[in-house]
Symmetry: C2
Subunit: 330 residues, 2 copies
């Protein structure tokens, strides 16, 4: 949940008996260090640190220009100078510098999205005793993770909010609902399988257990918790009727991710062939987002959310976690 | 399961204690009458008869021509004369003539796909004491069905095989996985909600129960049962690795339906803006399907299947049904 939480939510979940996660995909090495220090100040329980491990994209000036052209009417409407907008990624994949920071903390669990880091980097993380998790959106991806050093696999169903963790295919038709993906993953893999996607309350937790999950990963359920950094605009959308309609969109980062449908998704279509490769699309949208948000509009904001938004709770993350643990044990 | 089963499968399910369904969407009035007679010969238990109730499409000569043009390379390859291919729907929506046949049988349950028939027709079916079911793919559709006379609603998750029952929107991004759709439907509706999509074995049944389902509707699970009319080509695909990849496609009928990805879906893309309105797209593909199937190829065959194909059983439908009833009760 990069961008909507920091160590506070992770610590609250840990203290309540869950495995709290610190999202590191958008943190510099210094910021990661500061977050880990802050997290350790709040809890001495095991925690997870989550990284993206995408391949850095080839910049493509022509594609970038076409994307800026598609956004030009919006730049004009908001009085923005398109030529002044910087390029460049805001999400850096897991690398040596990150590992250098992480080594001092040796988290109990390190999880990855978009596959796994290069073998020598992964070996380094494993040498600290950290358990390795990664997301699989197909049975093939699950088998790949099992063969390449994961200790458990997160079966990410199509209902899940945020980025699809897909890494062996870009074909969205390969993506399955949790109810179909989870039991097939459990059947095909020797590793424990953690269920993600559409699970926001006790019935979903019990369903995941029935389907053979060794655990559940929940994100949307915490988006309105007291400790989340979710913006007021995002919280308002999550608790409104708009949250009933999410879609996969590549407009905000270049990779398909699930969020509440907003104006820019409606007008450009949620999936645009013009969007630059992940994470380069972020730069073009950023000034529009900033300008709109300054006027109280989420028209250009990624409103990440899963498909099951009917039970989102606005209360302390510890209370939410305790209710989930009770459901898991019942 | 129009096209892959008749009264035999319905009767076998009924005799084992399930509610067997007779698919009537592709039957003439005479054929429906014959099927109902045959079904009643095999069981005196309650059964369901399923109908499509789509609006009849406006023929569109220009769109039809573009579609034939897209298929022209295939016609040529198979030595088919495109100008000799008849137009016209092969699926007729529920109407007065169908109701006339049905009245003599007064099925315990009548179910619809794509909404509900016109109020006066629906009132006529209800006057016989038949319970009315219909599929909803969004909470909004569920509320609409509840307001328009359904007695129970089938929550059709995105995992489901065959046609999406969507009728209030054509936007595929509104479609949810069962794990997200079902609990939200249960929460929003007063009517009983029946779960469909991705449920093929005991764990799925137990998950659906945990999510609040009043029952489950299972289709893919029966596709290889002894009593199904599923073709040998279709059975082979279902039991092969190819079944791991299904997609929504409109190529075969004009409406999005889930089937195993085959050659024509790969080559034209599973969703084509050129495909004529449902059910008119069927005509253009039919001769290709016939020619290919005659040579043992399913390249142009709709291989309907849900996303969960790992537990398909090739055994008597009665045995399958009994195992499901045991799972439901456990």
């Amino acid at each position: 949940m990069a961008g909507v939480q920091n160590h506070r939510l992770a610590a609250a979940v840990c203290q309540a008996g869950g495995l709290g996660s610190l999202p590191a995909a958008m943190l510099s090495a210094d910021a990661l260090h500061a977050e880990l220090i802050a997290l350790q100040d709040l809890t001495n329980r095991p925690f997870n640190v989550n990284f993206f491990c995408h391949a850095a994209p080839q910049p493509d000036a022509e594609r970038e220009a076409r994307w800026r052209e598609a956004l030009a009417p919006y730049y004009k409407a908001w009085g923005l100078d398109a030529s002044a907008i910087p390029n460049g990624p805001v999400r850096v994949p897991f690398g040596t510098e990150t590992a250098d920071v992480l080594e001092a903390f040796r988290p109990a669990v390190v999880s990855f999205h978009f596959g796994l880091p290069a073998p020598e980097l992964l070996a380094r993380v494993k040498s600290w005793g950290s358990l390795i998790l990664s997301s699989a959106t197909t049975v093939q991806e699950g088998l790949w993770l099992q063969a390449h050093g994961a200790d458990a696999v997160i079966a990410q169903g199509l209902e899940a909010g945020g980025h699809r963790g897909m890494f062996l295919s870009e074909d969205l038709s390969t993506q399955m609902g949790t109810l179909a993906l989870l039991p097939q993953m459990v059947q095909a893999l020797k590793l424990p399988v953690i269920a993600a996607g559409g699970i926001v309350s006790a019935p979903g937790i019990q369903a995941a257990r029935a389907l053979g999950a060794a655990g559940v990963q929940m994100g949307t359920a915490y988006l309105c918790s007291d400790e989340a950094q979710t913006s007021a605009l995002h919280r308002t959308a999550l608790l409104s009727g708009a949250a009933q309609h999410t879609a996969l969109t590549n407009l905000f980062t270049g990779r398909p991710a699930r969020g509440i449908v907003n104006r820019v998704m409606r007008e450009l279509g949620p999936l645009s062939p013009l969007a630059p490769a992940f994470p380069l699309a972020t730069a073009g949208m950023a000034p529009l987002r900033a300008a709109a948000e300054a006027q109280g509009s989420s028209d250009f904001t990624p409103l990440w959310a899963g498909q099951n938004t009917a039970h989102i709770q606005a209360r302390p993350a510890g209370d939410i976690t305790q209710s989930f643990i009770t459901a898991w044990r019942s």
